[in-house]
């Protein structure tokens, strides 16, 4: 094998990473990215023989894609997928705002309190075990001398006798009191510390996994070429637990899209599949799979199902597996214990390296990785701090280092190895089989095992997710550079072109390039209603867990098929062509024809600048109908998948609304509460109150031609929303509602016995006109208030003058007849409910006696109408009174209980709003059409 006889000049200064003053940090060939394209200086005069070569584009062409983004290859699986824990779930930044709506919050202390009461045996059991030695539980004294033993005989007797469990007012004996005073703090602390510690630990592991999910290192998508040149198999896991290993036969075509042949055959495993490695060596196609505690090896036959060869069970979690490119059926496996083994089904396991400590400096991570080298008996072992050789012929723990996170490679502070990969393959590549790829969170390094510690190439990849996937491909043309793909967990893809002739230093042949990720395909999908759109976005944003590039043979121009596997189990593909550069001739004339397409291709942010003229730059491709149809088909299946139930939903009730419940529901609530308590189960929403008496809004059909949502939106846009709604509603409900309204009004009016008799009032009330179809009061506010005043004037004449003012006051709070059917009960509730708790019989206590309600009820009709016109005066009027605030603030919660999960129910509450004098959302912003 030839070794490059002329290397790029570099300093070699050992030291810890991140020496800011280290000249190596900018003198390595990586200091500037374009330096990668320069050749090392020769001993010949460059003016005689200039080194400048034609660029990659002019020499070989450009890699172009048919579509702006990858297309779905297989239909989505039947299992729903929901994104795992996200940073939003764990982090909260910024000030805690006073929530506009009263939300139920989890009171940790109370929860803990319940836990300690209910499961005292679990909570205190271990503590009791610890203290057992020091307590004498009534046995005869063993030794008098032991002062550390306390007699608890009497204490127990006190506890056992007449102590009702859990009663805080129970009688305390002096003994108990003394014990709880002395031991209470200590015993309490223990449990708290234990639980707190566990909680903290759990949060920490979740957070760490969120930031760096090392389990999927290496990728779980494999490609196995078949016996015929255009056939092959994709191997990938699906299922919610990633425990179903699929073997999907694929037919490649030189010109058309790849085809999936039939349904995949699958094997159900007992653990999640983390990594899939495939390799065809000496005509034998092998698939190795790594799960958390198992590794398995299959042999793929051209016909028939995959033949399992051997399964390995591990005590500690396996972190890496790789198949030997030299010897069929030989594998390298490593686990968290720091052990690296050579494994083959014939010869079994051979431990090669075991060191729980990291190589270069101390790092807490127990992640290990093993791969092969050009010598079949020498492995590389990687941990977060470096790479080292391990010889299978003479196992020892101190092989030579190949790579070290340090000043030699001009590493930064806090830099760690995330992926190490041997780039040699049995295929006759023009590449010397001694190259190794090392990826850290910042950079990519290329190392030659014959020149350890000095990277031949370093490129700052700038990926905003851990680069855990890499694949080197054969060159498109015999002399051309080799494409190297790098994939980040977040879906970012980069393509590099390595020019590696024998006897030449590996170099980048062209500036690195980004390839579209799954989320770039979003414009190819039809626009959905928000819920579906979010589902689709989440699905497309799922972490990238597998990458397999395939070069179909016999293509007229070099082609590459890029399969991508997401954590949701979706397999997408994209076809890339290497097209000869045609724009170099027309480089002189600025072309703007593809400027429009730029916006489509890139993210929405960039579309603003898409009008920039471009000069011979890669043109964007647009979505073709066929691709869109493909996306549409996939989406249709995806939307049929039942959505996942959220793992946890916050309780939507609080104590407040129990107080505020309608009277007729109260008995039922109490029953429900009792039943739930008796059965010892959770209090469900159904126990508390029936769902709102109106029909749920029509479910939205995304693909239907009859779209009720848009109808309704249209109607409300024309200010006829309420009419539409009434039209939709069941007419039979109206009479019943009116009845209840009458009833409540009677109750309320009876409290004004001094003002008028009940019958009088109802007489007055009854002739009031009731329009059959009322526009939403929000839309016609001024009209409503006017009509109210007018109607007052009509009958006010019959009333003695001294009572008119009182009546006016009363009417001021009484909503207008046309909007009143829902609003009155709301208003009435505070008084009736609070009273009913103490004296259910008396409902007719005058409101004026209540100081709180008095202040609320005091506003005159002017201020009433002024409130709705958003007068700041009236606002201050309401906010001045803290009582009113506290009194009315639960209202929204009340709404949220009854109307929760009805996204379009907002129309309905809008009918209530006139009466919600103190409610905040209304004051905050005007609605549409106001």
């Amino acid at each position: 094998m030839d070794f490059p006889d002329n290397l790029f000049p570099t300093f070699f200064l050992p030291g810890p990473p991140g020496l800011s003053d280290s000249p190596a940090s900018y003198l390595a060939p990586a200091w500037s990215d374009y330096m990668q394209l320069l050749k090392p200086p020769q001993t010949q005069d460059p003016s005689i023989n200039p080194q400048h070569e034609a660029s990659y584009v002019t020499k070989w062409g450009r890699w172009k894609s048919d579509t702006p983004g990858p297309l779905p290859f297989l239909l989505p699986g039947a299992d729903p997928w929901d994104p795992e824990l996200m940073s939003q779930d764990l982090l909260f930044r910024g000030r805690v705002k006073q929530p506009a709506r009263a939300k139920a919050t989890i009171d940790v202390i109370e929860q803990l309190n319940h836990f300690l009461w209910d499961h005292g045996d679990i909570a205190f059991g271990p503590l009791g075990m610890l203290l057992q030695e020091n307590f004498n539980l009534g046995e005869k004294k063993k030794s008098r001398k032991n002062k550390m033993v306390m007699n608890t005989e009497w204490l127990l007797r006190d506890l056992n006798g007449y102590q009702p469990k859990g009663c805080p007012w129970a009688h305390l004996s002096t003994r108990q009191r003394r014990f709880s005073l002395l031991g209470g703090t200590v015993l309490g602390e223990e449990v708290e510390n234990l639980l707190g510690g566990l909680l903290h630990e759990e949060l920490e592991t979740r957070w760490k996994r969120l930031l760096l999910d090392e389990a999927s290192t290496g990728g779980a998508l494999g490609w196995v070429p078949g016996a015929k040149p255009h056939h092959g198999q994709l191997v990938y896991p699906t299922g919610r637990a990633h425990d179903q290993l699929n073997f999907q036969k694929v037919k490649l075509s030189p010109t058309n899209e790849p085809q999936a042949l039939g349904d995949p055959s699958h094997i159900l495993l007992r653990g999640p599949v983390r990594q899939v490695v495939t390799r065809t060596i000496q005509g034998e196609a092998l698939v190795a799979v790594r799960s958390d505690h198992h590794c398995a090896l299959w042999k793929l036959e051209h016909r028939g199902p995959p033949e399992p060869l051997q399964v390995l069970e591990m005590e500690k979690e396996a972190t890496g597996i790789s198949l030997s490119p030299h010897l069929p059926g030989e594998l390298a496996v490593c686990t968290r214990s720091g052990a690296v083994c050579l494994w083959s089904p014939q010869h079994g396991l051979q431990q090669i390296h075991k060191d729980p400590e990291t190589f270069v400096f101390k790092d807490p991570s127990s992640w290990r990785w093993a791969d092969f080298t050009a010598h079949p008996r020498v492995l590389t072992v990687a941990d977060r701090t470096g790479l080292r050789f391990a010889d299978a012929r003479a196992p020892s723990d101190c092989g030579e280092l190949l790579f070290r996170v340090g000043a030699e490679a001009s590493c930064q502070r806090g830099e760690r190895v995330l992926l190490a990969q041997y780039l040699g393959t049995p295929d006759p590549l023009p590449l010397s089989p001694t190259l190794h790829l090392v990826c850290t969170q910042f950079s990519l390094y290329l190392l030659d095992e014959r020149l350890p510690l000095v990277p031949l190439l370093k490129w700052n990849h700038g990926l905003l997710s851990p680069p855990l996937l890499a694949q080197l491909l054969p060159p498109p043309y015999p002399e051309a550079p080799l494409p190297l793909l790098l994939g980040g967990l977040g879906g970012h893809l980069r393509m590099l072109h390595l020019s590696v002739g024998s006897g030449r230093t590996p170099q980048l042949a062209a500036p690195p390039q980004s390839l579209p990720s799954l989320i770039d395909s979003l414009p190819g999908f039809p626009v959905l209603e928000p819920h579906g759109q979010q589902l689709l976005q989440e699905r497309l944003r799922a972490p990238l867990t597998g990458l397999a590039a395939v070069v179909p043979p016999g293509c007229p121009s070099p082609t590459m098929l890029l399969f991508q596997l997401s954590a949701a189990g979706d397999v997408f593909y994209q076809r890339l062509w290497l097209q000869p550069d045609t724009s170099s001739e027309s480089a002189g004339s600025p072309s703007t024809d593809h400027a429009e397409d730029l916006g489509l291709n890139s993210h929405s942010q960039t579309s603003a600048t898409s009008s920039l003229g471009t000069v011979s730059e890669p043109s964007a491709v647009s979505w073709k109908p066929r691709a869109v149809a493909c996306c549409r088909r996939w989406l249709k299946t995806l939307l049929q998948v039942p959505p996942t139930l959220p793992s946890w939903t916050p309780p939507t009730f609080s104590q407040h609304h129990l107080r505020w419940l309608k009277e007729e529901n109260k008995g039922k609530v109490q029953e429900g509460l009792r039943a739930a308590m008796a059965e010892g189960r959770l209090l469900l929403q159904g126990d508390l109150a029936p769902l709102p008496p109106s029909d749920p809004p029509p479910a939205h059909e995304p693909f239907g031609t009859e779209d009720k949502l848009s109808e309704r939106l249209e109607a409300s846009w024309e200010r006829k929303g309420a009419i539409w709604w009434d039209g939709q509603r069941d007419g039979s409900r109206l009479p019943r509602k009116r009845q209840s309204r009458e009833k409540r009004r009677t109750q309320l009016s009876s409290s004004f016995s001094s003002v008028r008799s009940t019958s009088d009032f109802s007489d007055v009330n009854s002739p009031l006109p009731h329009p059959p179809k009322t526009p939403s009061p929000l839309h016609r506010m001024s009209e409503t208030s006017q009509s109210l005043e007018l109607s007052q004037e009509l009958w006010v004449k019959n009333i003695p003058r001294e009572r008119r003012q009182t009546l006016r006051d009363y009417l001021a709070v009484l909503p207008s007849p046309d909007s009143g059917n829902c609003s009155i009960p709301q208003f009435q509730n505070p008084s009736s409910q609070s009273l009913s708790t103490s004296e259910p019989g008396k409902c007719s206590v005058p409101c004026s006696q209540n100081p709180r309600t008095q202040t609320l009820f005091s506003p005159l009709p002017e201020s009433y109408s002024a409130f709705y016109s958003q007068n700041p005066n009236s606002q201050s009027l309401y906010s001045q009174n803290p009582n009113s605030q506290s009194l009315y603030s639960p209202e929204p919660a009340f709404n949220s209980v009854f109307h929760s999960q009805n996204s379009s129910i907002q129309k309905l509450p809008s009918r209530h709003t006139p009466s919600l004098a103190g409610s905040q959302p209304l004051r905050k912003k005007p609605r549409m059409g106001f």
């Binding site: 094998m1 070794f3 002329n6 290397l7 790029f8 300093f11 070699f12 200064l13 810890p16 991140g18 000249p23 003198l27 374009y34 330096m35 394209l37 320069l38 090392p40 200086p41 020769q42 001993t43 005069d45 460059p46 003016s47 200039p50 400048h52 660029s55 584009v57 982090l91 909260f92 910024g94 930031l211 000496q282 005509g283 010897l327 010869h347 101390k362 790092d363 008996r377 806090g414 830099e415 040699g424 010397s432 089989p433 001694t434 969170q441 910042f442 014959r450 997710s465 980069r494 500036p511 390039q513 480089a587 890139s602 960039t606 600048t609 920039l612 471009t614 000069v615 730059e617 890669p618």
Partner: protein, 440 residues
């Protein structure tokens, strides 16, 4: 102070010590952490508009670079220049370096850019933020060199060398050394040009003398600078080669040998196979004794057993009179064939076949056994499998026959040959080689 406080203080001190004695290596730094935090607290503070626009602009530039949209990137870069006026002093200091990186990458790749544009940009950037003067000068010179403009590059390096600004940091001193070394390399170019001129002169006397004088002055300039850099640990292949060439020309063989020996055997230097090759070639040219050559290659054999010069090493060992060298000769051959890149190296296989024959003839069967014992569990699958025999036979019959012959000796059976025999076509060829084997 009472006992309790004393005890407490003791604990506190102990804790501090524990913390201080912890490894100073920082924890893993994840560049995407800030992204996670930003995505949660969108309503929290975000920084100024200025910082936002510049960071968005930087993202656009990087995106355009990755899509090879050089024109677009250059237009964004014009807007990005505002970072030079960032109120955040740390960012302001970083700005020139980032702009230089982005700008030089764009100009290097932009189809309409030329050397003049690049030079103009580099000259401007050198003087913004003095800290980068040396780095930019060096890169500029390398760019010019890459385009064959040696004179401009020389002028640039000269300017950079004479640049002074306050106290020089340690890294800047090293950088100056590197700049000087590159200037020395350019002096060497001129020197070698003069040398060819002088050798082509048929004139006598004065003109030749003046030219030689001129040449000598270039040698002195170059040697001073090159000598300096190769003392610092690093990979200096080009510098060492040129320096040694000049030394050789002036007959300083000892100096040249010293330079090469230091370059190869200094422990502070990385183990660079080229260093050993240079030394070996120098010694070979010098007609050094074979033992000397063998000892040089023996070290290289330990570092890089797969190097192609190992075949030459094998021949050297074979020619040697010592028996241990003969034994090593076999090991060298076997070690070459251990590597996956050399499995189809016909020369190695034919050498091995021949040498095995010779060894067995020389009654040293135990050497073969020794070499074979560590390989017997994997060589058969690695080299002599059925699949490989068929493949070799199809692609390269000579190789197949050499391998068949070797496998016959090593395996003691006729495995590989059997396969070739069974494939039919190889019968006549195989039989001849088999007869050869039997004749031994």
């Amino acid at each position: 102070m009472d006992a309790f406080s004393e005890e407490l203080m003791g604990f506190v001190q102990k804790d501090n010590q524990v913390e201080a004695s912890k490894d100073p290596v920082p924890e893993i730094h994840l560049p995407w952490l800030s992204q996670h935090i930003q995505s949660t607290g969108s309503h929290g503070q975000k920084g100024t508009n200025f910082a936002q626009t510049t960071s968005i602009c930087l993202n656009f530039i990087q995106e355009a670079l990755l899509k090879h949209q050089w024109q677009r990137a250059s237009e964004f870069l014009q807007c990005y220049l505002q970072t030079l006026e960032d109120i955040n002093s740390q960012k302001r200091q970083m700005a020139p370096e980032i702009i230089w990186k982005l700008g030089s990458t764009i100009l290097y790749n932009h189809p309409k850019s030329n050397v003049e544009t690049f030079s103009a940009f580099a000259d401007r950037m050198k003087n913004i933020g003095v800290q980068n003067y040396l780095k930019i000068s060096l890169q500029h010179a390398l760019y010019l060199l890459h385009n064959g403009m040696v004179e401009d590059a020389y002028r640039n390096l000269n300017q950079a060398e004479s640049w002074r600004y306050g106290e020089m940091s340690a890294s800047q001193e090293k950088l100056i050394k590197l700049i000087q070394a590159y200037r020395g390399l350019l002096d060497y170019y001129t020197w070698s040009k003069k040398r060819t001129e002088v050798s082509s002169f048929d004139m006598d006397g004065f003109a030749t003398n003046a030219a030689t004088q001129d040449m000598h002055s270039y040698f002195r300039q170059a040697s001073v600078n090159l000598h300096e850099i190769i003392k610092i640990p690093g990979v200096w292949d080009t510098f060492v080669k040129s320096y040694v060439e000049m030394l050789e020309f002036y007959g300083d063989q000892d100096g040249a040998r010293q330079v090469l020996t230091d370059y190869a055997y200094d422990n502070n230097f990385p183990s660079n196979p080229n260093a050993h090759i240079y030394l070996y070639k120098f010694l070979k040219k010098e007609k050094a004794p074979e033992d000397k050559l063998i000892s040089v290659l023996k070290i290289l054999h330990q570092i890089v057993p797969s190097h192609k010069i190992m075949l030459e090493f094998h021949m050297l060992l074979k020619k040697s009179n010592k028996e241990e060298h003969h034994k090593l000769g076999l090991e060298v051959l076997l070690a070459i064939l251990d590597f996956s890149g050399c499995t189809e190296n016909i020369t190695a296989w034919s050498y091995l076949a021949k040498y095995l024959k010779q060894i067995i003839k020389g009654k040293h069967r135990e050497w073969v056994q020794e070499g074979w014992s560590s390989r017997k569990d994997w060589w058969p699958t690695f080299h002599f499998s059925y699949y490989l025999a068929k493949k070799n036979w199809k692609e390269n019959r000579i190789l197949a026959l050499k391998k068949a012959f070797t496998s016959g000796i090593l395996l003691g059976k006729v495995k590989h040959q059997k396969i070739i025999l069974s494939s039919g076509v190889g019968r006549p060829m195989f039989e001849s080689s088999f007869c050869l084997l039997l004749a031994e």
